[in-house]
């Protein structure tokens, strides 16, 4: 529909909390050129969060929400984990159903919305932790790629099950000692970005969230390609500072460090995706 659905009844304007009024007067609805540079001046779509102080997941969420080209018609599907604590604070349609079935729920939503609103753009974005995406939910994740669902999947890779208190995940580094891996993780980190390419994603990126502008470009490319071509996948390193024992102001440094090694920026673009990206650049949307 339109951002008008967020408009407050005139008679209630004076009694509405400031943050709700700001959503009407200072949010960046209806502007596909919106981006992270608007953050200091506009109303963010995330009000506050209940993550640990300084958790890079909170930065990632801010940048992603600021970069959605079409927030008024975007549905975000989430899974259980640290991220899910944030969703009640987001001013968009969000769905949390279970742990690991996010890509399946999103597939149903996307297909029905395409059918119900053939003339409208409705973006469906999945956002979940590495445990949800790559372990318990791997089947649903990959199968949604196989089926060429037109959804964008964003994985917050903190290399651990953080929300349950620091258990090893499929994305933990080999040898790392975490709870439930008391002798150290026995096998290598799952190269999910490669699995995504092999499984049919048309745009795949791996990066940290140390650079807001880069997050913005990646998210926009992923959404535009998903909208027109097929599944896209974004792998973000969002370290769990709590479980790796960093201070709340160390997250950024940690990511900058990893930018140079295992989370060095990597991008894959399929042929049909290239065409979309070029066109969006020409339209000044990227």
């Amino acid at each position: 529909m339109s951002y008008k659905i967020y408009e407050i009844n005139e008679d209630l304007l004076d009694v509405m909390p400031q943050e709700i009024r700001d959503l009407q007067f200072k949010a960046t609805w209806g502007n596909p050129k919106r981006g992270v540079m608007d953050l200091p001046y506009s109303k963010e779509l995330i009000e506050e969060h209940s993550l640990c102080a300084g958790c890079p997941e909170s930065m990632a969420l801010r940048y992603i929400l600021a970069s959605l080209p079409n927030p008024e018609d975007t549905i975000i599907v989430n899974s259980t984990g640290c991220t899910s604590l944030v969703f009640p604070h987001i001013a968009l349609h969000t769905v949390h159903s279970l742990f690991g079935n996010q890509n399946a729920v999103a597939s149903g939503i996307k297909r029905v919305l395409e059918w119900r609103f053939p003339d409208k753009v409705k973006d469906v974005v999945v956002l979940a932790g590495d445990g949800a995406t790559v372990d318990i939910g791997l089947d649903c994740t990959l199968q949604s790629f196989f089926r060429q669902e037109k959804i964008t999947t964003i994985c917050f890779d903190n290399e651990v099950y953080a929300n349950t208190g620091g258990q090893e995940s499929g994305l933990t580094m080999k040898g790392h000692v975490f709870k439930m891996a008391p002798k150290g993780k026995q096998w290598d980190k799952v190269p999910m970005w490669q699995l995504a390419i092999d499984s049919g994603c048309h745009y795949v990126a791996r990066l940290t969230v140390s650079s807001p502008k880069r997050v913005e470009t990646v998210i926009k490319k992923a959404i535009y390609v998903a909208r027109e071509v097929g599944p896209t996948y974004v792998h973000l390193y969002t370290p769990c500072i709590l479980e790796i024992g960093l201070n709340s102001d160390d997250g950024l440094d940690e990511m900058r460090q990893r930018d140079k090694e295992r989370f060095a920026f990597f991008e894959y673009v399929s042929e049909p995706a290239k065409e979309v990206i070029e066109r969006k650049k020409e339209e000044g949307l990227l």
Partner: protein, 401 residues
Amino acid sequence: MQTSTERVIYNRAGQRVVSPDYLLFEAPRTKHFMTGSEAVKEAVKRASVDASVSYPITPQSEAAHLIGELWVEGYVGVYFRGESEFGVMSEVAGCALAGARTITTTSGPGTLRAFENFPMWAGTRIPVQLVLMARGVNAPLSIQPDNLEVGFLLDTGCMIWYAENAQDLFDMILAGFVVAEQPSVHVPVVTVVDGFFVSHTREAVMLPPDDIALPPYNPYKAPMPVIDAEVPPGRFLRDPFVMKSNYISYATHASWQWEVRSAIERSRPFAKHYLRGLIEEFGDPSAELVFVACGTAAAQSKEAVRLLEEEGIKARVIKLKTIRPFPIEELRQAVKGAKYIFVPEFNVVGWLEREVRRYLYAYSDAEVIGAPRVAGGMTMPAEVIVKEVLKLTGKEVKHVI
């Protein structure tokens, strides 16, 4: 039927939209000979269904294939095969959250693989319909009929209805959407039928014409905001979280659980109307010997009543059409004067006996006998039921089995 002054409305498939009452009770019907699976297809064809997701498991697969055919023919909007039952039940949740009238089917182990989704369906108040063709649960491996999994489903927050035969199944599927989608109800409905006995046998089914259909689902009447970005975002339960450690969140969670159960209770008058009562009675109303059963067990009990008549024993059957909501008052009324209540079942645990005892406790002096029980795919010949009765009455067992 519309009068000439009314505007005729057609659904997306080009069928004329009629009221549920017209479709279920008034439209002329013709006799067709078909399997239970085909009856599912016929019901879906007249139900203005928006979406269906499928996964194979015997004996349900054929019904899911036939819904796929309806998609090709344009009667169903969205259809695909999911990755597993867990995936499918998640996908249909997505379809329903996005505003679609949604149906899916499964059986036995598939039900259990999908299980985490059912309380989630109820908790998100989506009116999905699951047609469950009950089948044994492994192990040992079995594809035979058995309805053990229904016992697991009872307390998920879904309505549970039980069809006796293909005719029931056809009517219940249509009624299921109508009742589940009432704004005051709006919870999932599981329509159960005994696999093979009904899914794979042919019988006469009376069908209304196929160029009429139920009014399409209107997601904007739902008590929860539909997730389509056409209305302000839903901020309650469809997104998390009620799990902060404080009394408000405990109370919120608890009251929501009660609300889901209350929604099932509120379905009673609608179910009563569209199913023509929550129970059906058969046999001599004065008989002191009563069978309480659902599904195929009710059909077999009716046969047993006929055989017992030859033995000079008067008996009757109370068939339960809904298990959630449980027809408490109806059953209490119906068993007045009963001395013996037999509960024949197609499973080893006797979940229906448990339910019957629970609701008759302190309301009936009759002796409740949880027998006979068959499982693992065995049929329940009427003679087996008769034998149980004769054993009790001390009579000689004449019918050879």
